[in-house]
Amino acid sequence: MKSVAGIHLLGFCLAVFVLSSCNKPSYRFTNTDKDAKIKTLGTVEVTARLVEIPDGAIFQRDLYDYAAILKYEVVAVHRGTLEKGTTIYVGHYDPWKPRSKAADQRVKLMGGTLREFRSGSLHHMALETSMDDHYLGGIVDKYFGKHTGPTYWAVWTNAAD
């Protein structure tokens, strides 16, 4: 693995001239506000910080799909009645996959630019509530029995760091 990374870095150095002749790149973590889907899908739209990723909440599961419940602190509310600073719990479908590759036959409406869940990162999300109304399937909930109130269902998740 390390050699692969090294090769890629070396390749990058050798190919700088290729880049210099290209149009301005559309960097994949650029302004998410230009994404129309984040503004139209779901009933709630927030920017929130992922508080933590509990041990075992996200893992690659080849045979079955699942959703994991993750804990967020709301940083900004764009749509809906949530308040800034609120702690919310959000279900993400097959969280080990990039959001752009998570949709499938079971959950057709799912996407976003987020590549990977990292503790402390900011996510711009379009959410539905409650999760039970939008998802039937395996749920890994490390907060089971530890919180009340609705669990939101993430329809679209963009990186917002």
Partner: protein, 371 residues
């Protein structure tokens, strides 16, 4: 003497450099920054570096192009299907983690038979306080019923591994009601040529489904009346099993013929519509993907749940949670208290390998409030 070695070194270096050069040029042609730059985006801790390496692999054009062909070569020439699948005889495929769970010592963090037994007793006792009866049905691993399709042994050989034997013994001692499909299937293999499991899938066949439903209906027995509410019709289908899909190789999938399956779909005789659950039923079925196959998957209403309903003569309620029958399905029950309002019998199915590998282990989950 130098020329050949220089030539080989040059070829070798060109091969090495071609991978990142192709990648960088491709990304540039799509107007993207090189993925290699991502290493500078996050603090270089172990988690971020692992993620970076994983992204390099996932995005690598070379890997994406070559992997399916290498996989196919390994599969067909070397009979190596990778880490998740074992190739058996006569087109049979087996789920490697299930075999590992039965043949290897427990790994750190895996559940034990004692955990499963304790959770089952806790669940039985909690249900009993509400006058609800619990019936437990472990679904055998495919390799427990068909070891002869994986290794050389007698065709009628049947495996009951140490953990499952200990679990069933523990259930007997604790007066937990169980349906022993291991015995049912052993008997069926002696008396019928019909397959109990699908060759390309980790789950049971339509015949295995019918025998399981029959065994559970018999166990529920006289406490539930039967009526002529349901009829059945034959539905044939062809499909690749989950053990083919898990390989994620279009090349292999294209080369393997899909499996032909004849299912029996259950329908209501009064409306002609396919079987559907009734959330107010007195029988609640909990389980994993063994309940999902043919029921929620194609052709629908031809799985264990519909067949059990047919044998009972009335609809049942169900919670199906792929790979989550050990704990997740009871957590889901806890979130849906209305499902227990009229329940008299709970049937709890889980696959044998979940004794060790059940997602979230075997937690004690309280029943939802009855109010």
């Amino acid at each position: 003497m130098k020329t050949p070695s220089h030539f080989l070194i040059t070829i070798f270096l060109a091969l090495l450099l071609s991978v990142p050069l192709i990648q960088t040029a491709t990304e540039a042609s799509h107007g993207k920054w090189p993925g290699a730059l991502e290493v500078f985006q996050y603090w270089p801790n172990p988690a971020n570096l692992h993620a970076f390496e994983r992204h390099l692999q996932d995005d690598s054009l070379t890997i994406q192009t070559l992997r399916p062909w290498i996989q196919a070569t390994q599969y067909f020439a070397l009979r190596d299907a990778g880490q998740q699948v074992l190739i058996g005889k006569n087109g049979w495929l087996f789920y490697q983690p299930g075999i590992s769970a039965a043949t290897q010592r427990p790994h750190r963090g895996e559940s034990t038979t004692a955990d499963a037994l304790a959770a089952a007793i806790h669940f039985r006792d909690a249900l009993a306080t509400r006058g609800i009866r619990l019936i437990i049905m472990p679904a055998p691993n495919k390799e427990s019923i068909y070891p002869d399709q994986l290794v050389s042994c007698e065709p009628q050989q049947h495996i009951l591994d140490e953990q499952m034997r200990a679990f069933l013994d523990g259930c007997a001692k604790a007066n937990l009601e169980t349906v022993d499909l291991f015995s049912v299937y052993r008997e069926a293999r002696r008396n019928s040529p019909d397959l109990l499991y699908l060759k390309q899938d980790s789950h049971w066949s339509p015949f295995g489904v019918e025998l399981a439903a029959q065994a559970v209906a018999l166990r529920i027995g006289a406490s539930v009346p039967t009526t002529g509410l349901y009829g059945h019709r034959i539905v044939s289908l062809t499909r690749h099993g989950d053990l083919v899909h898990i390989l994620r190789s279009p090349v292999i999938e294209a080369q393997l013929a899909p499996e032909s399956i004849t299912t029996t779909q259950i329908y209501r005789t009064d409306t002609g519509g396919s079987y559907t659950d009734d959330t107010g039923s007195d029988v609640l079925v909990l389980g994993d993907s063994f309940l999902r196959i043919f029921e929620q998957d194609e052709p629908g209403s031809a799985g264990f749940i519909a067949h059990l309903a047919q044998r009972l003569g009335h609809p049942v309620a169900s919670i199906v949670n792929d790979g989550g029958a050990s704990t997740l399905v009871r957590q889901e029950l806890s979130r849906h208290p209305q499902l227990l309002a009229k329940t008299k019998v709970v049937v709890w199915e889980f696959v044998e390998r979940d004794l060790r590998l059940g997602t979230e282990g075997w937690q004690m989950i309280p029943l939802p409030s009855s109010h």
